[in-house]
């Protein structure tokens, strides 16, 4: 009997400590954060196109500037706060990717250049690059076969 009570108390404790997700609120926050980041990207894109750069190069400038901004904000310890509020809104844009590269590099610098920074910098970027490249490779292979076979 005592044991049952203990278990019950423990379950209540776990319930109390587990953060409650309020999905609509979190989604709204993600929507606003992600939207703002994309709008900033759009302003860079528009500026580059106004300067007469072609589409691909403008896209490159947009990524580069957003990544730079994100790394600076990560270094100043501001990006984690944005991510805490914005959730997926700060994670999903390319700024989240840059944050996932810079944050472990800074955090693990004490473990050395190679095993610390060198390895940990790829903690999240590694899987993203691996599976992104692999997926596009498979699709490219299928596309190549399709072209040879004359389907596409």
């Amino acid at each position: 009997m005592d044991r049952k009570k203990q278990q019950e108390a423990y379950e209540n404790y776990v319930k109390q400590k587990t953060p409650v997700h309020n999905l609509p609120v979190n989604m709204t926050k993600a929507f606003i954060t992600g939207g703002i980041i994309c709008a900033i990207g759009q302003s860079v894109l528009n500026y580059c196109e106004k300067m007469g750069l072609d589409k691909d190069i403008s896209g490159g400038w947009t990524s580069m500037i957003l990544i730079l901004l994100s790394v600076v904000l990560t270094a100043l310890n501001i990006y984690p706060r944005i991510a805490k509020w914005g959730g997926a809104g700060a994670l999903v844009p390319i700024t989240g990717f840059a944050n996932s590269v810079a944050a472990p590099a800074i955090e693990f610098q004490k473990e050395g250049q190679v095993m610390g920074i060198g390895c940990k910098i790829f903690t999240i970027a590694g899987p993203v690059i691996l599976y992104g490249v692999f997926t596009s490779w498979v699709l490219g292979f299928l596309y190549w076969i399709g072209k040879i076979a004359g389907i596409i």
């Binding site: 759009q42 996932s100 800074i106 970027a125 899987p127």
Partner: protein, 118 residues
């Protein structure tokens, strides 16, 4: 107008990803991988490019746009170089993003001290 389109499409992609984060056991890293892969697949199915033409940075800034970029690079390289293009195009197209993240990230690790987590 293009700002509004970028805002709501980009916001929507993030809001949908929030569902994955909150309602499933997927970790942030997995959500990012999932987005890049689905972006590449949607790109190959000719679905993502029309969205990107409509939303501009709203579709290219989220990681799904990174996937689409990888696919576009591979496709263009295959059109131009044939078989070897499959190996060439992805990294070529994504070079700016990956290089910028690595270089700036490394520089930040040289300049900054690790912060204590509160």
């Amino acid at each position: 107008m293009d700002y509004i389109n970028a805002f709501w499409v980009g916001g929507l992609i993030c809001a949908l990803s929030q569902i994955l984060l909150d309602r499933t056991k997927l970790m942030p890293g997995r959500v990012m991988v999932l987005l890049v892969c689905s972006g590449a697949i949607l790109g190959a199915l000719h679905i993502y490019q029309p969205i990107q033409d409509y939303a501009g940075a709203g579709a290219s800034v989220p990681l799904a746009g990174f996937g689409n970029l990888l696919w576009k690079g591979v496709k263009e390289a295959v059109d131009k170089e044939g078989f070897i293009g499959i190996f060439l195009g992805g990294f070529k197209a994504s070079a700016v993003g990956i290089c910028a993240a690595l270089v700036f990230g490394y520089l930040a690790s040289l300049i900054c001290e690790p912060k204590m987590k509160k």
